[in-house]
């Protein structure tokens, strides 16, 4: 069993460990989960390091034959008569997403340290969910991909339904059904590709060798893109997101907004654009327009919110719009921006939701007007909140800036299949959201943390405890790391984005690198 399989197995084994522990030993359960996720984090570091060595060796040698390939591949035939196999591996995009997921689940476990209702079930479901997420990012067989995808979505129902707050049953049901309806569309698309290719395989790379008729691409591309768009909060299918995020318990919001929503952008890029380049050309502008609405709608929506979680959820809708905008803009700069934005937004929103959970645990309210002056009693939390907020509005030096710049530049560059006037105008409209974002972030944070303390109960609240400092610290460090050293992620993902471009331009791999 290779490194990549271990990355799927460790969360699963941790889950089994949790299941095997007696339910009344909640302290053991927490520690088992934390240690399991710690091991996962270490494995991720090992994977990144090994991938970096392999990939940079290729890069320096300009070894075009291996530069764009998958590494650490493992294949085992599964349902052979249908060409289904267990096929996992990594490329740069997967590595970036795996890093993101490992960080978020580790901090998520720390953030749920004080969950004391049905602890065992909570951690088992959380770990099951994250097993699914790792599986999606690491599998390159469509059957496997789809399997892990649904595995990642379904535990959400119980996690929100049991441990959530507010109208939790409604939100849980809405979220689950909308996401699974999205996956139903994806499935229809997969079957169409499988049969149209005539290759009798669900192997993503082999399917990418086939030429699909334009008539097929015309309807399959939007099917798959919209299917993934649901989980990527594509307007107007984003409505599950604010309800779901605000009802979910802290760690689940973190995981959901931080990682699960990225499955949408990832799938749209990796599968829809990669397999169906002609469809992407036909529909690119349309989805760019939808994503622009996303960006603006989300940020205007955020201004109006009174609940901190709804506030962050709408801001997520806006930021996920950047991801889809980048994917639909169809050039290398925009693709890089999309991947960076997935990573950056994942960390940022994970931090946001983690902090909201910590603040809520102290104040027992999330209504913005009811709070005020909290910065005086909880300086650590307030500072972290501000940094996350600044990253969100794109302050240079933090991750958001790098990502959004790439997306916007990519948008302005446009592509040869859409009118430059159209893409330029859309990008111009989208950039205006920066101002709106600054308004809601600064205004919201000021209301919560600054001014006099409005409620006398708040005067005796304490600041972050050790596990909380650990998790916020890790997330903050990552924000700065991406902001100050973006070249790391750019180099990590760039070569893996080449196959997508090559397929768009229909040039062989070798020619494009020079």
């Amino acid at each position: 069993m290779g490194l990549v399989s271990w990355l799927i197995a460790v969360p699963f084994l941790t889950m089994l460990g949790v299941v095997a522990t007696p339910a009344n030993r909640s302290h053991w359960i927490r520690w088992i989960s934390a240690v399991g996720c710690g091991i996962q984090l270490a494995l991720t570091a090992l994977l990144t390091w090994r991938y970096w060595i392999v990939a940079s060796a290729d890069f320096e040698a300009m070894n075009t034959a291996t530069l764009t390939q998958l590494h650490f591949v493992e294949r085992v035939p599964w349902f052979e008569s249908l060409g289904i196999q267990y096929f996992v591996g990594v490329d740069g995009i997967s590595v970036a997403m795996v890093i993101l997921t490992s960080i978020i689940i580790f901090t998520g476990v720390l953030a749920s340290w004080y969950v004391d209702i049905r602890t065992k079930e909570f951690f088992s479901l959380l770990l099951l969910l994250v097993t699914g997420v790792f599986g999606v990012f690491l599998s390159f067989d469509l059957f496997l991909f789809f399997m892990f995808y649904e595995l990642a979505v379904l535990p959400m129902y119980l996690l929100i339904g049991v441990w959530g707050t507010g109208p939790k049953e409604y939100s849980a049901m809405k979220l689950t059904l909308m996401l699974l309806a999205g996956s139903a569309f994806v499935l229809v698309g997969f079957f169409a590709l499988y049969h149209a290719s005539g290759l009798h395989t669900f192997d993503l790379q082999q399917l990418a060798q086939a030429d699909y008729p334009r008539a097929l691409q015309r309807w399959v591309f939007p099917m798959i893109f919209v299917g993934f768009g649901v989980i990527g909060a594509l307007y107007p299918l984003h409505t599950w997101s604010p309800d779901g995020h605000s009802s979910a318990p802290t760690a689940v919001s973190m995981l959901h907004a931080g990682v699960l929503m990225k499955l949408g952008g990832y799938g749209a890029l990796r599968i829809a654009v990669y397999l169906l380049p002609e469809g992407a050309k036909m529909w690119g502008l349309f989805f760019m327009a939808l994503a622009t609405i996303n960006i603006l709608y989300g940020s205007f929506g955020a201004i109006m919110q009174r609940d901190l979680k709804y506030f962050t959820a709408y801001s997520s809708v806006s930021h996920c719009g950047f991801v889809l905008f980048g994917v639909a803009a169809l050039n290398i700069m925009a693709f890089k921006g999309a991947v960076l934005q997935m990573f950056s937004h994942g960390i940022m929103t994970g931090l946001f939701f983690g902090l909201i959970g910590m603040v809520y645990g102290r104040t027992h309210t999330r209504i913005i007007p009811e709070m005020g002056g909290l910065g005086k009693v909880m300086p650590w939390l307030a500072t972290s909140f501000y940094i996350a907020g600044l990253a969100s509005l794109g302050l240079p030096g933090l991750s958001g800036f790098v990502a959004e710049t790439h997306v916007f530049l990519g948008g302005f560059f446009g592509n040869e299949w859409a009118s430059p006037w159209a893409t330029g105008t859309l990008t111009l409209i989208a950039t205006m959201s920066i101002v709106v974002t600054a308004v809601y972030v600064l205004r919201g944070l000021a209301l919560v943390f600054q001014g006099p303390i409005t409620n006398e109960h708040f005067e005796h609240l304490d600041d972050a405890k050790l596990p909380e400092r650990l998790s916020t610290g890790l997330l903050l460090a990552t924000l700065f790391f991406v902001g100050l050293m973006p070249w790391f992620f750019i180099q990590l993902t760039e070569s893996s984005l080449m196959p997508l471009l090559n397929r768009l331009h229909e040039v062989p791999v070798v020619a494009s690198l020079h």
């Binding site: 599964w78 595995l151 339904g161 049901m173 309806a181 139903a184 229809v188």
Partner: protein, 480 residues
């Protein structure tokens, strides 16, 4: 030799009937083990029988598909006996009225199983029809088993009346087929019809579809299902929901592949519409049910819609996908029903709200029930997902992309109502002082084994690959 499984089932049926008379009431607990042993012996006999051959001048024959159907029938029968025996032996906390008469129960059950075994082996119209009746008539009795219960009586009566109508339709259709060709044997019929289909054949086929659709609970021939399922004792409901549907599919296979084979592609559009309507109606109506048996009835109707997708594709993918899905469906549905039987045995309740808080009083059984329901909804990595995946693939391969979309959306809809049960079990708190319920060893083992089956069938490829491989070999041999 070829008929050994059938003969064993019938011999067991008579043995149970005789013992029921000879053995005093206290010792009648041995009847269930005898029925189980008989079915197990029949199962091993089936494993030993070759997958091709014929008897009685070709009126009774075996091939790969026949063999697999028989395996499924025996499996469904075996599990049904396992989940019935607590109820019939009175090892329950809340006694249902009018349950008893064990010997007759097992005998009648064994007779319907033998009817199904003959049905799929039959190679001429008379044998086919007689064995269908052998399989259907005893079910009327089983549905009305709770003698003092009005609902059970109503179930029996409705089942008889609808069943008689369906039978009449079928028989009318078969008589047309005979009249048009003058042949009784299925292969001879197929040869006769090779030349061209006279218009009257369309009418005959429509009548046959109505007859078979009744058994499969294909919409619009599903009307009887909910009332009968609700009235019948739960193990019988379980049996009806799997075995009776399997028998209907066997009948459809017999007529549509063996007789009308050459025109199957002309029927595809119609089958696609039937499938779409069946799964949609079943799902939509299931949403508003509150009684768990009615709920499962509509869930079963929608599952029937998925199963008939297998008829759309070419033989080499359609047949294995359909048989595999039936296997998955039998295991999964009976896993859910085993939990329902257990809950009803312990509490005597059967409303969905009654399952409130089960995850906190009996976490393991709640987990098993949830896995079963999720498998029915087609959630990976459970077997229901894999089974549906293969069927959808067949459907897409035949070019019915719209139907894949309808089916996939329907899976999402079905998740909504399966989640209603999960919600009661997991999210709602238990009633005050709700006791922890116990399960008898037999039922506990059965539930556990079925749950393992639900998971393994989806992960271990050997079952599907075997069915697929054998079907391919069989078709290759046929083509020569």
């Amino acid at each position: 030799m070829l008929m050994l499984p059938e003969l064993m089932v019938i011999a067991t049926a008579f043995a149970v009937l005789l013992l029921d008379v000879l053995v005093p009431e206290k010792r009648r607990v041995v009847l269930a083990p005898i029925a189980l042993a008989g079915l197990a012996l029949a199962f091993f006999a089936l494993l030993a029988t070759p997958q091709d051959g014929e008897l009685l001048g070709g009126r009774f024959a075996l091939d790969v598909v026949t063999w697999w159907f028989k395996l499924l029938f025996l499996l469904a029968g075996f599990i049904t006996v396992l989940i019935s025996l607590d109820l019939l032996d009175g090892r329950v906390r809340v006694r249902a009225r009018g349950i008893g008469f064990r010997g007759e129960y097992y005998t009648i059950l064994l007779f319907t199983i033998s009817g199904m075994l003959y049905l799929i082996s039959a190679r001429d119209l008379i044998t086919l029809y007689v064995s269908l009746e052998l399989c259907t008539m005893p079910l009327f009795l089983l549905a009305a088993w709770r003698r003092d219960d009005l609902k059970s009586g109503e179930a029996g009566l409705k089942y008889v009346i609808y069943g008689a109508f369906a039978s009449a339709f079928l028989l009318y259709g078969l008589s047309f087929v005979y009249g048009l060709t003058g042949e009784m044997r299925l292969d001879a019929l197929a040869r006769q019809l090779q030349g061209g289909a006279p218009p009257l054949l369309w009418l005959a086929a429509a009548l046959i579809v109505a007859g078979a659709g009744f058994k499969v609970t294909m919409v619009p021939f599903h009307m009887w299902a909910a009332d009968v399922y609700e009235g019948a004792p739960i193990p019988v409901t379980a049996y009806l929901s799997v075995a009776s549907k399997a028998a209907g599919l066997a009948l459809m296979f017999q007529m549509f592949y063996r007789v009308f084979g050459p025109w199957l592609h002309e029927w595809s559009d119609l089958i696609a519409v039937f499938a779409a309507v069946t799964m949609t109606l079943g799902n939509v109506v299931a949403i508003v049910q509150n009684n768990i048996k009615r709920f499962m009835a509509f869930s079963a109707i929608s599952q029937a819609g998925y199963t008939i997708l297998g008829f759309l594709g070419p033989l080499d993918t359609g047949i294995p996908a359909m048989i595999f899905y039936l296997l998955v469906y039998i295991v999964t549905n009976l896993a859910v029903f085993a939990c329902i039987v257990w809950y009803s045995n312990e509490t005597g309740r059967e409303q969905i709200q009654d399952y409130r808080g089960l995850a906190q009083t009996n976490p393991v059984i709640a987990l098993m029930m949830m896995l079963g329901l999720f498998s029915l909804a087609g959630i990976p990595p459970l077997s229901g997902f894999v089974g549906k995946f293969f069927l959808f693939s067949v459907c897409a391969g035949a070019g019915y992309h719209w139907l894949v979309a309808v089916a996939a959306i329907n899976s999402t809809v079905s998740l909504y109502y399966y989640l209603r049960v999960v919600r009661q079990m997991y999210i709602e708190p238990p009633e005050e002082n709700a006791p922890r319920l116990t399960a008898s060893p037999t039922l506990a083992t059965t539930m556990a084994a079925l749950t393992v089956g639900v998971v393994l069938l989806g992960i271990v490829p050997v079952f599907y690959e075997t069915i697929h491989g054998q079907t391919i070999t069989w078709l290759a041999a046929l083509a020569q």
